[in-house]
């Protein structure tokens, strides 16, 4: 993993709106690895990926893709939302646009704290929107 740089809040705010694009083909092996790990034996997940494929960091991890520096040393995931419109099928190429949407400075007398919000849109090779997601990282 790339070491995350620490940067001043103003420098990070200037990066709001920064976007990146990623593309990934999903095959049956990837679906099987995911379902084996979570012990998800639902027979539906053969040619169709479970929704949890979209929730993975490699698909909806905008923080990883954009490499925005952190304001403080520590960071953890704070929350996430996913809207699912169409399922991923084996053989689909998922094209994702990530955006560093905003940083909210939540520092108080209890200490430094900030929420970093990332938004992502996921489409398939036909241009159909499969899902949109929002992920929030807390740095402290």
């Amino acid at each position: 993993m790339v070491e995350r740089r620490i940067a001043p809040m103003d420098e990070i705010k200037a990066l709001q709106g920064k976007k990146s694009k990623e593309s990934m083909e999903i095959d049956k092996h990837m679906i099987r690895l995911l379902c084996d790990c979570t012990e998800d034996t639902n027979p539906k997940w053969k040619d169709t990926a479970p929704p949890s494929m979209i929730t993975t960091a490699m698909i909806s991890g905008g923080a990883l893709a954009l490499g925005i520096p952190l304001p403080f040393k520590r960071s953890v995931a704070a929350g996430a939302d996913w809207d699912f419109f169409k399922p991923i099928k084996a053989g689909d190429t998922i094209n994702t646009t990530h955006e560093f949407f905003e940083i909210q400075d939540k520092s108080s007398d209890k200490g430094p704290r900030a929420l970093m919000v990332y938004k992502s849109t996921h489409t398939n090779q036909k241009g159909e929107v499969l899902a949109v997601s929002t992920n929030t990282i807390m740095s402290y």
């Binding site: 993993m1 990837m30 690895l33 790990c37 479970p50 949890s52 993975t56 704070a78 929350g79 996913w82």
Partner: protein, 142 residues
């Protein structure tokens, strides 16, 4: 896997409880399958430098478990439409996590039969470490 129909859902009803016990091996497998190699989930020294007792379970793995709770419940013809989670606590590998949910609302919108639920991951101490909400679409018997 039984099919759940919109007609059979009542507000206030509970979802079947699911238990998961992710181990350190589960975390390694999840890292590989999901592309999440954050050291917090496998490096004890790194995790302790961040103030944790050791590596913690990926929040996204808990989200995947909640997704499975819902897709198992709604059956083949149901669809998960929305999943929202807040990470308010941490799970340690080896702990048995209890996943549950409750129906909060059912309605029809845009020709779809939709059901809203509260969902959660509960740690062995009974604390909801990952609460959230979900919306599923269900077929009707008619």
């Amino acid at each position: 896997m039984a099919q759940l129909y919109f007609d059979d859902v009542k507000e206030g009803m509970s979802l079947p409880v699911m238990e998961k016990t992710p181990t350190t091996q589960t975390l390694v497998r999840w890292a590989g399958a999901s592309g999440d190699y954050f050291e917090l989930h496998y490096d004890k020294d790194f995790a302790q430098s961040m103030g944790f007792p050791g590596p913690i379970v990926h929040g996204r793995l808990e989200a995947a478990f909640l997704s499975q709770l819902l897709t198992d419940w709604i059956g083949e013809k149901g669809e998960l439409r929305k999943l929202s989670v807040q990470y308010r606590g941490n799970a340690l590998p080896g702990q048995t996590l209890k996943l549950g949910g409750k129906v909060t609302k059912k309605y029809t919108q845009g020709g779809e039969n939709l059901v809203e639920c509260q969902i959660w991951v509960e740690n062995p101490e009974g604390k909801q470490i990952t609460p959230g909400t979900a919306v599923v679409s269900l077929p009707s018997k008619k």
